[in-house]
């Protein structure tokens, strides 16, 4: 919230944040989330300081255990002397704009181990998440956190995209038929670099693994047929975990690290960063264009005799031909 007496300038905050002051990190994240001038200044200041952090996306259906897993994983990372941070995204209520962000409940051990955790609501505005998350990750990267884990609910396209924009995208499913199939439908299969079958303490974990294997076989066949083999990386590993017991979490950590090493050894890491850069530019551009569209829409006259298609074409010509509005 604005209005406190001790409001500090972004540059000052960034210096404090990089010096280890968590309150300053948190404040920067608030400003980035809010958007506008301060957010742009922070993006400009942090961009040159990024690139060290391994960015890990964790996604999957609600209740699959993403937060529990993220908590266990980062607790382990902290115990190894690394400096993990978590961004846990949950949906805002479309009606009130409010949100209940409950992921920290499952990350208590991580909090105790000194992991920096930030809960984030999707907030109403269209594509807001695609704008805010890259900026938030950039701040954490610039402040020396590594890895940065981003948890999103893998139901909406934007949420899936956000996780997919990571260096390593982890898709979490649980035993039982539905989940793997759901994951396929939601497009999660294509974005996964690693699969976790969590809740392996429940019956059906090996069936879930088999389903995933089958689906991967199928997608490899169709991928080869479609000629998308060019940037094909190795087939995603499937790890079974019981996050509540910490079972398999060490294996997952090794797999995450191995994926990062493989990316670094080849062109993969740079390719992903390039892709992420373009995706963010695209999200920003869409944002600017939508705002511009909203501005010109006030001129639309429904009784002018033009069809909607003609009216749209006319307006589009107007702002694509003239100097780019700024």
């Amino acid at each position: 919230m604005a209005g406190t007496g001790e409001e500090r300038k972004p540059a000052e905050l960034l210096a404090a944040a990089r010096g280890g002051q968590r309150r300053a990190v948190a404040r920067l994240l608030t400003l980035v989330e809010r958007g506008g001038g301060a957010a742009e200044a922070i993006a400009a200041a942090t961009h040159p300081l990024t690139g060290a952090a391994h960015i890990v996306g964790i996604t999957g259906a609600p209740g699959t255990g993403k937060s529990t897993l993220t908590g266990a994983l980062t607790t382990l990372l902290a115990a190894e002397g690394r400096r993990p941070a978590v961004v846990a995204v949950d949906p805002s209520s479309p009606l009130t704009g409010g949100a209940i962000l409950g992921d920290r409940v499952r990350m208590e051990a991580a909090t105790g181990a000194g992991v920096f955790i930030r809960s984030m609501a999707t907030r109403g505005h269209a594509g807001g998440l695609a704008l805010a998350v890259p900026g938030v990750v950039r701040v954490l990267d610039a402040c020396g956190f590594d890895p940065v884990l981003v948890e999103t609910v893998g139901v909406g396209q934007i949420e899936v995209d956000v996780a997919a924009a990571a260096d390593t995208a982890v898709v979490v499913v649980t035993p039982g038929w539905g989940d793997a199939i759901q994951a396929n439908k939601a497009g999660l299969l294509e974005v996964a670099d690693l699969f976790v079958v969590n809740k392996a303490d429940r019956p059906g974990a090996s069936d879930a693994r088999r389903d995933l294997d089958l689906m991967l076989d199928l997608s490899e066949v169709s991928g080869a047929a479609a000629g998308t083999g060019a940037d094909a990386e190795s087939r995603p590993a499937i790890i079974e975990t019981t996050a509540t017991e910490g079972e398999g979490v060490q294996d997952l950590l090794r797999a995450v690290d191995a994926h990062h090493r493989a990316l670094k050894a080849g062109p993969g890491l740079q390719a992903r960063r390039d892709r992420r850069f373009v995706a963010e530019v695209r999200a920003r551009l869409e944002h600017v264009l939508i705002q511009a569209a909203d501005d010109v829409l006030v001129d639309v006259d429904s009784r002018s005799g033009a069809t909607p298609v003609e009216a749209a074409r006319h307006l589009a010509d107007r702002f694509l031909d003239t100097d780019t509005p700024r």
């Binding site: 309150r23 948190a26 704009g97 409010g98 949100a99 409950g102 505005h125």
Partner: protein
Amino acid sequence: MDGPEEGATPIRVVLAKLGLDGHDRGLKVVARILRDAGMEVVYLGLRQTTATIVDAVEQEDADVVGISMHNAGHLTLAPLIVAALVAAGLGNVPVVIGGVVPDEDVGELEAAGVGAVIGPGTSATEVVASVRRVVDGRHG
């Protein structure tokens, strides 16, 4: 400073229950009330300690923290929380206490730096108003 250009930031509340006792039904009700009033509620749930609450307030850049306590320890625990926040440089984050607090203790809690006390019978509207009031009244 620059005004928010992209729509105002919702009030961010950290909500926790301190101590070992009880259930979190009441806390969940409050969480929903605040969400429905357009706030972002960072829910910590049961069995929190002063340290976990301060960590959350810090990392989440909360505007206010709501703490439920039901084991009559409020006269000692509430000032501890306030002191811990001050020690962490978060003294400008108001503390709202929920729970069974006898009327005669309210003054003492407020003197100890607690922003508001919300008793069992408080209506949803009053809960929201209390939180808004302490956030508006916060000082640097």
